[in-house]
Each structure stands twice: as C-alpha cells, then as structure tokens.
Amino acid sequence: MQMFAKKRIEILIERAVLKRLTEELERTGVSGYSVAPLAGGRGRAGRWEADGQIGDAAGMFALWCIVDAARLDELLQVVFAIVARQVGLVSVSDVQVVRPERF
C-alpha cells in the first residue's frame, strides 16, 4: 500500500488541563486526536502514581495527534501556549498513513 508521511505530536498533560488543550486543538481544526491514561511517571516535579489518587487534579494523560507536517508549527504554538507552564512534555515523531486526505 502506498503510504504518506505525517507528523505525530505527543503531549503528556495533567488531568486539570486536558480539557483546555482539547478545546484549543478543536478550535484550530485538527482532524482528530486520541487520549490514553498514564499510570505514573517521573519528571522534574518528581515521581507520581495514578493508583489511589483522590483529588480532582490527580492523573496525567498522553494525548497524540497525527497531522500534516505543514500544520506542525501552528499546532506546536497552540500546544505550548497551554502546556508550557504546566507539568508535561511535548514530542514529535514521523509516521506514515494510508489516507493522507484525512489529516
């Protein structure tokens, strides 16, 4: 099958901020995104675990978004406007898809 190159942005983000991020992404008109729960991790803010958390703020998610390379910069700007001040991490990688018109 013929494959077409796209970019995959992955954002690790706190539960409290997830809704803002998805609303902002929708406003830019991304074709879609996916969110998966994290079970724990470690970063500059120390170590954390999802198990047992009782607060509304607890927990982090990995959100990823497959987009056309042409839109990458615009989206990164949007993402950083929200994520920069928060606990989190943004990374980009290359992927290939079959139906390029979807992204």
Partner: protein, 323 residues
Amino acid sequence: MLALAVQNLVSPSVLFFGMGLGASLGRSDLSVPEAIARFLSLYLLISIGFRGGAEVAHQGVTPGLALAIVAGIVLSAGLPFIAYALLRYGARLDHVNAAAVAGHYGSISAVTFVAITGALTQLALPYDGYMIAVAAAMETPAIFSVLVIARSGQGRAKGELSGDFLREIALNGSIVALLGAFVVGCITGERGMSSLKPFLLDAFPGFLCVFLLDMGLIAGRGLRDGWRSLSPAVAGFAWVMPLIGAVFAALFARLIGLSPGSTAILMTLGASASYIAVPAAMRLALPAANPAIALTLSLGLTFPFNLIVGIPLYIAAAQMIAR
C-alpha cells in the same frame, strides 16, 4: 477530651489510615486502583450531601442557615490571607507555593467533616443538618482569595479570572456531586433515605475505611518523597494553621449564635484543608506551584492532626464557647 482523643485514635477508620501510612512509608506495594479511589470519593460526597439534604428536609430550613453560610464563606475567603502571611513571612515559603497552600487551608476537607459529625453523634451532641451546606459553601471562596493573593505578588505568577476558569471552578465535579446529592436529599427526604439507607448510610463506615486506607497510602507516599523539601517551619504550619482556623471559626460561630455541636463543626471546617477540589483549581490558577507540597501538608500532617488532637479540642472548646 482525652478519652475522646484515645477513642478516635482507635476507631477503625483512623487505624486504617495508619495502616495505609505505615504501608507506604515501609514501601509496601499495597495500592487502591485509581478507578476505585475516584469512586470512593464520589461515594463519600454523595453520601454526605444526601444525608445533609435529608436532614434539612427533616429539620426544615432554620433561620440560622443563611447566617451560617455567610459565616462559612467569609471564613473560607479570609483564612487564605492569614495562611499566606504565615507561610510567606513566617515559614519563608516562596510566593507561588505559599499562595497555593493557602488556598488549600481556606477550603475544607470532607472526610474531616465526617469525622467531626461522627464524634458528635457518639457524644449525643446535636448539630444542624444544614452544616453540610455550609461545608459545600466553604469549598470554593478560598480559590478566589488565592487569585487575589497571586496577583498581588511581584509579577512572578499571574492568576486568571476568565469566565472559563470561573465556570470550571463552579462546576467542579466534586462540588456538583456534593450539592446535587444535597438537593436530591432535600427533595426526597425520609422516603429517599429509607430506600438508600443500606448503601449510603449502613455501608458508609466500611467504604470510609477503604478511603482512609487509601488516604494513608497517599499521605505516606507524599511524606516519603517530600519530607526533605519541607522545612520545619512549613511543617509546623500544618499544625498551627488548624488552630488559627478553628479560633476564627469559633468567633464567627459565637457571633451568629450557633449551637455547641454546630460550633464544633464550623471550627473543624475552618481547621481542615482541602485535597479533593482545590488542588485541581490550583493546577489551573498557579501551575508553577508544586502540588506535592500542599498535598503532603494537608493530607500527611493536618488531616491526622485534626483527627487525633483537633476534633476533641474543638468539641471541648465549642461546649465552653457556645451558648
């Protein structure tokens, strides 16, 4: 008073808290699944709210309700300023973290509320059912005080007061659950209570034990990872602030003429610190604050302090103060 302290200390729920604390300080891998922890906190809020509502339906809305709510709001809005001053100038905590922690101490802890009402019931000291509405009203005002404090800072952190943010705070899931269940309890009263009693009332002490086991586990994790970063002065704050909160609450209670039981509750609310609703607001308003500090203080130090030392003290004081 000592007898009550000892009895509190050996109640199953406090022992389960201790068990969780011990397990996680000892690095056991005991844990409560995330979905269960979230459910338990939803269950507690619904149970507390519903019972408060059913109680109000039973007692009727007494004139004291409005006054007590206003007192609670003023208290919740005012305490963060005192807490901030103590932390910033007494304990030399940095601006952002002092503001975030202060927000937690203006707000209240639902589980501490449960503990005080349990102790009052055991002592056969009556209190007003509407105090749960007061508790709910005290959840959020502290958040707005924090925004004011944050803005006044040396420009290092800026809070935000957008409409979105206000909506997010007001419609926070925990507050909706507590208030919603309160309203359902008000409407369905005795009749609703009788059908929900086995789940919301009889099973409550059991669910509470699992919840406190979990709180112990989290508090232990926080203390284990965080105690190095807590200066003695900051740690001391976690034991001093409850007393200050309780004193202010006692003044307000006296002013509006609450009964001894309700006075003890207002003092406990003033003395307790949030760990369910406020942390989420602080992540939005003050992202630069380290969430572990507030959590460790409120859950690891203040919560057990109130359970063991505070509540017996507040009850004794309330009986002396209130008419």
